[in-house]
């Protein structure tokens, strides 16, 4: 019998690919979250924003369950659950939506920005949330700004929800016609990471730095022809395109994981600002040294180990780059829900040529490949982790990579530790 791995590797090279690397694409069950899941961290990031999903009971149940833990205080998200009457007449659905938004804003006078978030059912019945947002904005201006985006599973996978949310923010950003270079870091980061990067940029002499999304909806950064965008997250395809339309220049950089990734990411901006390499090295030296030391503590546990990524968050390729280049792991397969070759180019180039890169998923066949490859560590979603552990594999659940501050020098050790811990745990347990 031909090995499934061998079959997968004997892939035809794609004619149009910018990179030489073949990519496996299979169609089958995709074991991924939809874009609504992003609300779990976005509602914490933008502190005066509220996310109202217009969807079904499934949507509400997903957000509640996907957080892994349930936080039962009144959060800054909710679901307007569609019922039969809403399906019967769209006019009524719009009226109902207005009523629900009214009730919500009455309850939460602290809200300054409201996102109407589209879902699978709202898209299928063609409930036009952009028109609803316009209509409601008129009603509730100037107190609340009302925007919309889609987090539906038919349009988005997991982190694409954040992409859609930030893309919806772009038209709202004030204009700045000055061509003086200014830096915009796009992608939600933990506040602590954002502050660390802010300090490094300031020390480098890059003064005009802003972050998208902002912590307060009123602090939207201005953009224009002078704006250079450094992507902090590898899943911002639409956001980048919208920013480009506003005249911004999107920088191609490695993503800021580990020492090498963070150095390369910061250097991309530093070069553009003509900061001498000596000065750059001097500024990052203390933090980079700390990070190297932190990584050394993990290297001996991870080096030579084989890792398999199931598609989840689009962080897979830069993370595989980090584990390979900085910790000596070998990525057997790196699955990603969607591959943006342009943004991933620099990280992708650093993966070994033997590594199978796959886009999309047929989870059953991917599990077959994974079992055959017998990796030392599997990075996968919550639905797969325990069953794979029960089969004897060691797993790292991928959602934690998004909920934990992992970017930058000071977090490099923490990031490595997320991969070390499951391996270490196996060696400790005697039951």
């Amino acid at each position: 019998m031909t090995s499934v791995l061998a079959t997968a590797k004997a892939l035809p090279k794609e004619a149009c690919a910018s990179s030489e690397r073949p990519v496996l694409r299979q169609r089958g069950q995709r074991e991924v979250f939809c874009g609504l899941t992003g609300i779990i961290w976005l509602h914490r990031k933008i502190q005066d924003a509220f996310f109202l999903v217009v969807g079904s009971r499934t949507c509400a149940h997903l957000i509640q369950s996907a957080a892994g833990v349930m936080i039962f205080a009144e959060p800054r998200f909710a679901t307007a659950i569609l019922d039969e009457r809403d399906l019967a007449g769209l006019a009524d659905a719009n009226e109902e939506l207005d009523r629900v938004v009214g009730r919500l804003l009455e309850r939460r006078p602290d809200i300054r920005m409201l996102f109407l978030v589209g879902s699978c059912p709202s898209e299928v019945i063609k409930l036009d949330l952009s028109r609803a947002a316009e209509r409601l904005s008129v009603q509730h201006t100037p107190r609340v700004r009302i925007l919309n985006y889609s987090g539906s599973g038919i349009e988005t996978t997991f982190t694409q929800g954040e992409d859609a949310c930030l893309a919806a923010l772009v038209p709202e950003l004030p204009s700045c016609e000055s061509s003086t270079p200014r830096l915009l870091v796009a992608g939600a980061l933990a506040d602590i990471v954002e502050d660390q990067f802010g300090r490094i940029f300031a020390e480098l002499g890059i003064d005009d730095v802003s972050f998208l999304p902002p912590r307060k909806s009123g602090d939207l950064p201005a953009v224009g022809p002078g704006t250079r965008v450094l992507l902090a997250q590898p899943f911002l395809t639409d956001t980048a395109a919208r920013l480009q339309e506003r005249g911004c220049e999107i920088l191609t950089a490695q993503f800021p994981y580990g020492v090498e990734g963070t150095t390369a990411w910061l250097a991309t901006a530093a070069e553009l600002w003509n900061i001498p390499r000596d000065r750059f090295d001097e500024v990052i030296a203390p933090a980079a040294a700390r990070a190297r030391k932190a990584l050394d503590a993990h290297k001996f546990r991870l080096s030579g180990k084989r890792v398999f990524f199931f598609p989840d968050s689009q962080l897979e390729i830069p993370l595989a780059r980090f584990l390979h280049e900085e910790l000596g792991m070998f990525p057997v397969e790196v699955g990603t829900p969607y591959l943006n070759r342009q943004q991933m180019a620099l990280d992708l180039d650093k993966l070994p040529s033997e590594t199978l890169v796959s886009e999309g998923q047929d989870v059953e066949r991917q599990l077959d490949r994974c079992r055959e490859a017998k990796p030392d560590l599997i990075v996968c979603g919550l639905g797969l982790a325990n069953p794979l552990e029960a089969e004897g594999f060691t797993t790292k659940w991928s959602i934690e990579l998004l909920f934990t501050p992992v970017q930058g020098f000071e977090q490099a050790g923490d990031l490595a530790e997320l991969f070390t811990r499951p391996l270490l745990r196996r060696t400790r347990l005697e039951v």
Binding site: E31, L62, F72, G383, A385, E389
Partner: protein, 548 residues
């Protein structure tokens, strides 16, 4: 359109998944968009199952909508059949797939698979999880037991003399609240009564086992939310009677034993005479006196809420001040039960409405779901969990049934332990200025290193979560102000009249765990009478007014 912060139940296809995951040899092909696979984690993470649920999703995307989602369903169903070779399949649609009207049942039939395929119609925009579970179970029972239906009106053959009575146990499912241990407990009880168990379903049953259901003399319905429809049909079709008592608590278990013995045609007295529950004595022992009249608020699925009210009221001597359910299908039963306790039933699936009710009723104990646990935590009220929706904590490693005599022991412990013990309550009252006994101090059995009680700022939900899990800095001995337990009711005081300094000082002598209630009651008393300035007199007038 309903504004929902948290939901007590998932959509109906989650109910169908619970049935599929409960059984062996059954596979569910679900027409659903990408993202609906989140549901797998309910089983693999929350219930800690070591295999994936037997569910294949079509995970269609926008681009499939333009082409052929029906074809996608067929290829997914075929691939699932070939890979898993199930004994039977159930097929259906999730909420989004329902809108595109591909008819999974018809499509699956057209495939001509070599196994029974049962189509499910679960209206996602009308119904919810438990209804979906009940409907799925009913359809499966009909499909597999229906082949054995006798001619209408045919009399049920009598059991041969000397044969032991046989029953089925219906209702336990995956993701059920303590179903795993309840089934064990009830099986032990039935074994002690010398009644044989024919089939337990859906938990652990194969599709073929459902065909054997009619062989039993009667059915034991443990969870009507799941098994009522199937039991009704079995009664209509095969003349199989079923039990209606839910054996939660000592008195209900006694009634259940009698009901089962009557159905089996055997004597119950010998067994009941040797009953071994500790609850009756524990409840009668004098240290339990302090439980008398404790105000308890109860909310959960209908079965557990009604059972809890009975146990709370006549087995522990609590006073039921609120009773409610999110199970609308059983609203009538819960309303009827509530009448016995002199309260109006709260029938709602709106979490905010439940929170409001708890606030208004000032219970001393909340018996609810994980959601009420969080409400209670925020309000500083003790709480025990009695019902789904489930949480990882509801699958304890130890044996902890809710049903039967052992279940009654478990109830006594879990409901009584969150409460302040009787003598402890008095000591706190008498010596409230003891430096280790103040509001900010952690429990003394933690050697002074226990966390302080949760700050009730209410300002930030995450902060509250963190406060509950992170040990707070150790309070300085003697400083009683380190933790604000009750937000000063500034607004109320402004409208009604403020607290005189002496009254405020007197209020502080009241133990912290009842101080909030004393403050609210006094303010309400003052407001009702238009009293502008709350004095010590007002405080004690209010105390007398509200004392029971």
């Amino acid at each position: 359109m309903q504004l929902t912060v948290w939901t007590y139940e998932g959509p109906p296809h989650i109910g169908a998944m619970r049935i599929a995951n409960s059984m062996q040899g059954l596979h569910y092909v679900l027409h659903a968009p990408q993202g609906d696979t989140y549901a797998d984690l309910l089983f693999t993470m929350i219930e800690r199952n070591n295999v994936r649920p037997p569910v294949t999703y079509t995970t269609f995307q926008a681009r499939d909508l333009g082409s052929d989602t029906a074809e996608l369903f067929k290829s997914s169903a075929l691939a699932a059949y070939e890979r898993f070779r199930p004994e039977a399949m159930i097929v259906g649609a999730s909420c989004t797939a329902e809108l595109i009207q591909d008819d999974p049942g018809g499509l699956a039939k057209a495939l001509g698979l070599d196994c029974p395929v049962i189509p499910l119609e679960l209206p996602a925009y009308q119904k919810k999880e438990n209804w979906g579970a009940a409907e799925t179970f009913y359809q499966l029972v009909r499909a597999f037991a229906g082949t054995r239906a006798p001619a209408p009106g045919a009399a049920r053959p009598a059991r041969a003399a000397g044969d032991r009575a046989r029953c089925n146990i219906l209702g336990p499912t995956s993701l059920g609240f303590r179903h795993r241990d309840d089934v064990t407990e009830i099986q032990r009880l039935l074994a002690d009564l010398k009644i044989d168990v024919n089939v337990v379903a859906p938990q652990g049953a194969r599709p073929g086992d459902l065909t054997r259901l009619p062989d039993a003399d009667f059915n034991v319905v443990l969870y009507p939310e799941v098994a009522q429809n199937a039991a009704n049909w079995l009664k209509r079709t095969f003349g199989q009677p079923f039990t209606t008592t839910i054996p939660i608590g000592v008195t209900a278990t006694r009634d259940f034993v009698k009901e089962v013995c009557d159905l089996a045609g055997i004597d119950s007295q010998t067994y009941l005479a040797s009953e071994r529950s500790r609850l009756p004595w524990y409840s009668r022992s004098i240290d339990s006196t302090y439980l008398t009249g404790k105000r308890v608020f109860i909310f959960g699925d209908a079965t557990h809420a009604m059972a809890a009210a009975r146990v709370a009221s006549i087995e522990l001597g609590f006073k039921v001040v609120g009773l409610g359910t999110y199970s609308r299908e059983f609203a009538r039963d819960v309303r009827q039960a509530a009448v016995q306790y002199g309260v109006e039933a709260l029938i709602t699936d709106d979490y905010l409405e439940v929170e409001q009710a708890v606030r208004e009723l000032h219970p001393e104990l909340v018996l609810g779901t994980q959601m009420e646990r969080h409400i209670a935590k925020r309000l500083g009220v003790p709480c025990a969990v009695i019902s789904a929706p489930i949480h990882v904590q509801d699958f304890p490693a130890r044996y902890a049934p809710q049903m039967g005599f052992e279940g009654a022991n478990v109830l006594f412990d879990t409901w009584v332990h969150p409460l302040m013990m009787g003598l402890e309550e008095h000591l706190l009252q008498m010596f409230r200025d003891d430096f280790e006994f103040h509001d900010g101090a952690g429990p003394s059995h933690l050697g002074g290193h226990g966390g302080a009680r949760e700050a009730q700022s209410g300002a930030d939900d995450i902060a509250a979560e963190i406060a509950a899990t992170t040990p707070a800095p150790l309070a300085t001995p003697g400083s009683t102000d380190t933790v604000v337990l009750e937000r000063p009711a500034v607004a109320a005081a402004d409208e009604v009249g403020g607290w005189a300094t002496e009254a405020e000082q007197e209020l502080r002598k009241i133990p912290f765990f009842v101080r909030g209630k004393a403050r609210r009651n006094t303010e309400r008393y003052a407001a009702d009478r238009g009293i502008k300035n709350i004095t010590i007199e007002t405080l004690y007038d209010a105390k007398a007014h509200y004392s029971r």
